[in-house]
């Protein structure tokens, strides 16, 4: 009997982040144009497993995703026990560029979701020439907060339960149960203060209304795709962001929420394949 092995392979990258040694776990599958996927706040690379097992994508794209330190298989930096984790625009940008440079990825596509989508706007504004294209899922230059992040890490509320309970409604009601509950399981595992530390970036250090004007989509194409059931990054937030960036291509995804790639992979595929086809075709032309 032959083992049923998925094509996803995981490895560890040793590098430095903010001047400190870190061990970054990453997964990859496929070959071709590098496509680096950035997970949502409080989560890890497992959100992208469906893209990595889809031959329509992996036949042309080398799909990679790394766990930010503090979650999944990437441990926090040494000394973490005496500090409070807080991601920033600088530290997030640094680790993405470090990852791409260390693996010698040639003008990768970067696709991020939620906070991973937000940071693609900074990459576009500050480092657009390094990338073949940028894709922001559930992304906007700014969003209105809807809860106090103090709930996420306190001794009298179960951290995993409250993280999953808060975000459960960001999954569209049409999403299939299996994918919904796998998406929520990823949040139920959240380490103490990790979601909150990610949200420091999202809430306090990434109001990009000051820099979307710097984005030149002739240098690096920008795609923004948002699910209609996402009330965190709303359709209005993404539409407003896209309207301020000449050449940005905005797609509103029906029957999807804040976690399109994991909450309903089949539905997300309908929206992301045309984008990836366009990027691949542009590469063939160039």
């Amino acid at each position: 009997m032959s083992a049923q092995l998925e094509p996803i392979v995981g490895r560890y990258l040793r590098t430095t982040w903010q001047g400190r040694p870190v061990r970054l776990y990453f997964e990859e599958a496929g070959g071709g144009i590098p496509l680096v996927c950035l997970h949502t706040a409080g989560c890890d690379t497992s959100q992208f497993r469906h893209l990595m097992t889809d031959p329509a994508i992996t036949d042309r794209f080398r799909v990679l995703a790394f766990d930010l330190p503090w979650r999944g298989k990437s441990p926090p930096p040494v000394g973490w026990q005496d500090e409070e984790y807080a991601l920033t625009t600088d530290s997030y940008t640094e680790i993405i560029r470090t990852f791409c440079a260390a693996l010698e990825l040639d003008k990768p596509v970067v696709m991020g979701c939620s906070m991973g989508g937000r940071i693609t706007l900074n990459l576009a504004a500050r480092h657009g020439a390094e990338f073949r294209a940028l894709i922001g899922l559930e992304a906007a230059d700014h969003q209105t907060p809807w809860y106090d992040t103090e709930w996420l890490n306190r001794p009298d509320v179960h951290g995993g339960e409250v993280c999953a309970g808060l975000i459960s409604g960001l999954v569209a009601p049409q999403s299939p149960d299996e994918a919904r509950w796998e998406t929520l399981w990823q949040y139920l595992q959240s380490g103490p203060g990790v979601f909150k530390g990610d949200l420091h970036f999202y809430r306090a250090d990434s109001d990009y209304r000051d820099r979307t004007g710097l984005i030149d989509t002739a240098v690096c194409p920008l795609y923004l795709l948002t699910g209609e059931y996402d009330f965190s990054c709303t359709v209005e937030d993404t539409t407003r962001t896209g309207a301020a960036i000449p050449g940005a291509k905005v797609t509103i995804m029906r029957e999807l929420g804040h976690f399109p790639m994991s909450e309903n992979p089949a539905k997300f595929r309908e929206y992301i394949l045309p984008v990836l086809n366009e990027i691949a075709a542009a590469g063939a032309d160039g």
Binding site: W146, Y147, D156, A164, G165, G169, L170, E228, F231
Partner: protein, 128 residues
């Protein structure tokens, strides 16, 4: 229609189990109608639909009747599908001591979504 809520909750062993550490009084307000609900170890042991006669509650969830009707549609529209979508948009108010709510989020979210099951809840009846 919420008079069917105690039976709907109490007949779900997984839901009751999830709330086994929860004993609380809370208020669910539909338009002008207050529903005072007592939960004891995950079971609803009392429901009063009489306008809220100076009863205490730890927290209250309140929205207009039309908002709840949209929330309770079997396949709710975007913005009406989750309690936090409603509070963010201002369509609902969540107030009081939120600790029991936040520490039992899945329990309360599943409870207040039960009326989406039209086999359990009729659109007629008292309390809205």
């Amino acid at each position: 229609m919420l008079d069917a809520l105690p039976a709907a909750v109490n007949s779900r062993p997984q839901l009751v189990h999830r709330g086994r550490f929860l004993t609380v009084d809370f208020r669910l307000t539909v338009g002008a109608v207050a529903h005072d609900i007592h939960i004891h170890q995950g079971r609803i042991t009392d429901l009063r639909i009489d306008g809220g006669l100076l009863r205490p509650w730890r927290f209250q969830i309140a929205a207009a009747r039309e908002v709840w009707e949209r929330f309770w549609e079997p396949m709710p529209a975007p913005g009406y599908h989750d309690i936090f979508a409603l509070t963010k948009s201002g369509h609902a108010v969540l107030e009081g001591d939120l600790l029991p709510f936040m520490s039992n989020l899945r329990y309360f979210k599943e409870m207040i979504a039960l009326p989406r099951d039209t086999t359990l809840f009729s659109k007629e009846g008292s309390g809205g």
